[in-house]
């Protein structure tokens, strides 16, 4: 069957992503004329109804944007409001924030690696089917995910929408002895995480690159998670290099407070998510960006696992730009997060108070942290009583949308040049290209249908 005629196709829903969206492809002859990832988020209007709320409420309210990464929302909100009020949270309170965030990275990444992404590499529809042939690998993944949840449950009270995070720190902080059983569980998890890196490194990966600017937070001496300075690594084409290059490229930084001057959102008709661009260009946030910008700061065990997994040497600045291999980078980040969690627990001394006071203050505050899927930015304007008068939230998936669409366009183009793919084949290819980026469409989202609109030559 040839597809050169003019036609429109609707193919199933995109599965194994957080939330639902739709895909529109327009093909003319052998050329992709248009590739769009549409997010039909039934709009929930968080930025609108945050206005008029107390400045103490956004951590709890915004966590309800995403059940997969509530800690990211809570801590970006805390940072932004503390910035507005001139409060500083440091020492062991900052360490506990990093610890609960490690739990979320472990949980969210492990969910994606084992339950959402790995089935693609084994020709399975879901993890239950995968478990029929790879039972031990799946059980190891579930155990690892449970370890991530155990951190959030201990520090936050529960794994989804934890209750213990507040402005200035926590409602209650743990004792050293409460953390001891968690450390036991994490030592086992460290072995599981190392084995997971080895497992996913053995998958078959198509050759691919990405020619986007990479954006992640960076810190001078640690792999940035709960704080940092926005840092941009230029896209390969700016140095006349191919998209697949492993070379690190020059970086530049800007302050979190200037985020809105650099990353701007605009609305497109096909989506209820806003599209963001960085200085007018397409950019990518998330594991590939973090690994490129902070890879040299991975813990020794995580860096060794990355080298053994064929990612080159992150400590020498090797970068991974193959989106299919993002599953390895996620697994390396899980190992790093487990290792980091153990280090934090080892060094923990209960702080004298569970939180620092954050008195209300009129002004605007900015906060950014590294959600599992990438940089999450919040901005709030408060009046003198602490009432929120304006709220702006820029989630990673809104930022990645242009990059995902470019990956789709490239991938489909390559398949069209290589042969005459059926619509079913194109759908599978597109779903994989989207899943590579673990989009959190549930930070928005509704319904994913593939529409292929073929017009052109032969009809």
């Amino acid at each position: 069957m040839t597809h050169r005629g003019s036609r429109v196709l609707h193919v199933g829903s995109l599965s194994r992503v957080e939330g639902e969206g739709s895909l529109y492809l327009r093909v003319q002859g052998d050329e992709v004329a248009e590739a769009r990832l549409a997010v039909y988020e039934p709009p929930r209007f968080f930025e609108a109804f945050l206005r008029g709320r107390s400045y103490t409420e956004p951590p709890d309210i915004t966590s309800r944007i995403c059940g997969i990464c509530p800690v990211a929302y809570q801590l970006s909100a805390c940072r932004a409001i503390e910035d507005a009020c001139g409060a500083v949270v440091d020492g062991q309170l900052a360490a506990l924030r990093r610890l609960i965030y490690c739990g979320e990275w472990i949980e969210s990444h492990t969910l994606h690696v084992h339950l959402l992404h790995a089935p693609d590499f084994h020709g399975c529809d879901n993890v239950v089917e995968l478990a029929r042939s790879r039972r031990a690998d799946v059980e190891r993944g579930l155990r690892l995910k449970q370890a991530g949840n155990a951190i959030i449950e201990l520090l936050g009270g529960r794994a989804i929408h934890p209750v213990n995070v507040r402005l200035g720190g926590f409602h209650r902080v743990p004792s050293r002895s409460e953390l001891r059983p968690l450390a036991e569980q994490l030592r086992r998890a460290r072995e599981d995480a190392a084995l997971t890196v080895r497992w996913v490194a053995g998958f078959d990966f198509p050759d691919a690159g990405c020619d986007h600017d990479l954006l992640a937070l960076s810190e001078p001496d640690t792999y940035a998670i709960e704080s940092g300075t926005p840092t941009v690594m230029a896209a390969p084409h700016t140095a006349a290099l191919p998209a697949t290059t492993r070379r690190a490229l020059p970086t530049r930084t800007f302050g979190v407070r200037e985020f809105g001057d650099h990353v701007t959102e605009s609305q497109v008709p096909h989506s209820t998510a806003l599209h963001a661009r960085l200085d007018g260009r397409r950019h990518l946030t998330g594991p590939l960006a973090r690994y490129a910008i902070s890879g040299r700061l991975l813990s020794p065990v995580a860096a060794q696992a990355a080298r053994d997994a064929g990612l080159g040497d992150p400590r020498k600045g090797d970068v991974c730009r193959n989106p299919y291999r993002s599953i390895i980078v996620r697994a390396v980040e899980v190992l790093h997060a487990v290792d980091e969690a153990l280090r934090l627990i080892e060094a923990y001394e209960p702080p004298p108070r569970p939180y620092v006071e954050v008195p209300p203050s009129a002004g605007t505050g900015h906060g950014a942290t590294e959600a599992p899927r990438g940089l999450l930015y919040h901005r709030y304007t408060l009046d003198a009583q602490g009432t929120v008068t304006e709220a702006v939230l820029v989630p990673p998936t809104a930022q990645n949308q242009d990059a995902i669409e470019e990956d789709l366009r490239r991938t489909v183009q390559e398949h069209l040049r290589a042969g005459e793919p059926t619509d079913a084949e194109l759908t599978a290819v597109c779903e994989r290209a989207i899943r590579n980026h673990d989009p959190c469409i549930s930070c928005s989202t509704h319904f994913l249908d593939l529409t292929v609109d073929r017009t052109g030559s032969g009809a």
Binding site: G12, S13, L14, S15, R16, E18, G19, E20, P42, P43, R44, F45, F46, E47, A48, F49, R51, R53, S54, E57, D60, I61, R64, I65, C66, G67, I68, L115, L116, P119, D125, N126, V127, V128, A131, R135, V138, E139, L142, R143, K145, Q146, N149, G157, R158, I160, H161, V163, N164, R166, H171, R172, S266, Q267, P269, T272, P354, E431, S442, H446
Partner: protein
């Protein structure tokens, strides 16, 4: 004579306007997930599987609230193909945090978030599933509790009603041996009027309950609100704490309106 192989009940998981957290709770059953998949056929669960088996379904779990014209049609279809329909979480049961739009001008909300509000199709209200179709059981919580979700599913498999108490969070504090934060510290706490199910997490962490499981079966808000005032909350504080994740639950909604009119 050999018995015919037992047909596994078909389970479906559906999403409406929500954060995905309640359906994630099913995937957070790390110890039970693979065993559960032996007992039930997970026939439709988009977040977890590319395969989708057609209905009818024995048990449908529905997450999220109804906020678009298309979703009104979709929930009627789901009801028609489901023997039992259970809502999971505050969005599906009470409209969720997005029901805050019910008090505002949605056109103004759209203009606040989107530069081109004319691109967005939405309803003026966020409503629970029960406003549209009959619901067999409503599981509370923002998010739901993992153990309660397993109880709902296993009760369904055994053909009995789920054992989910509808009394208040206060019972759970007593069971857990948690000191009352209101009595001991004067901390305002919604526990006396909030549906049990979380295990009284907030008081255990030294924080007053903020009502994320919605009103209990015995909630008497007119008697309770004066206690919040005694413990330092003013009218605005009371309205805010009632208008969060279960804002459209009738008992909370009525009390917040009464406060606003004072």
């Amino acid at each position: 004579m050999t018995a015919a192989p037992r047909r596994r009940p078909k389970l479906a998981v559906w999403k409406f306007a929500s954060c995905d957290g309640c359906q994630l709770t099913l995937l957070d059953c790390e110890d039970e997930l693979l065993g559960l998949a032996d007992q039930v056929e997970i026939a439709h669960f988009l977040e977890a599987s590319s395969a989708s088996a057609p209905g009818p379904y024995d048990l449908s779990l529905v997450e999220g609230s109804v906020t678009t014209p298309q979703d009104v049609e979709r929930i009627h279809h789901i009801r028609a193909v489901s023997a039992r329909l259970v809502t999971i979480g505050a969005c599906a049961t009470a409209g969720g945090v997005q029901a805050l739009r019910n008090y505002a001008d949605v056109a103004e909300f759209q203009a606040a978030v989107y530069a081109r509000p004319d691109y967005i199709a939405t309803l003026a209200t966020s409503t629970p599933i029960s406003a549209h179709v009959p619901v067999d059981f409503e599981l509370r919580g923002c998010p739901i509790d993992r153990r309660q979700l397993l109880e709902v599913i296993t009760a369904h498999l055994a053909g009995r009603r789920p054992d989910i108490p509808a009394h208040s969070v206060c019972f759970e504090c007593k069971q857990r041996g948690t000191v009352c934060v209101t009595v001991a510290h004067g901390t305002p706490c919604l526990g006396p009027v909030t549906h049990a199910g979380c295990g009284a997490i907030c008081p255990t962490y030294g924080r007053g309950c903020y009502g994320c499981f919605g009103p209990s079966n015995s909630a008497n808000l007119p008697s309770f609100v004066p206690l919040l005032r005694r413990d330092g909350m003013d009218t605005l504080d009371v309205v805010r704490v009632l208008r969060t994740f279960n804002t459209a639950a009738p008992a909370f909604d009525a009390a917040a309106r009464t406060e606003e009119e004072r």
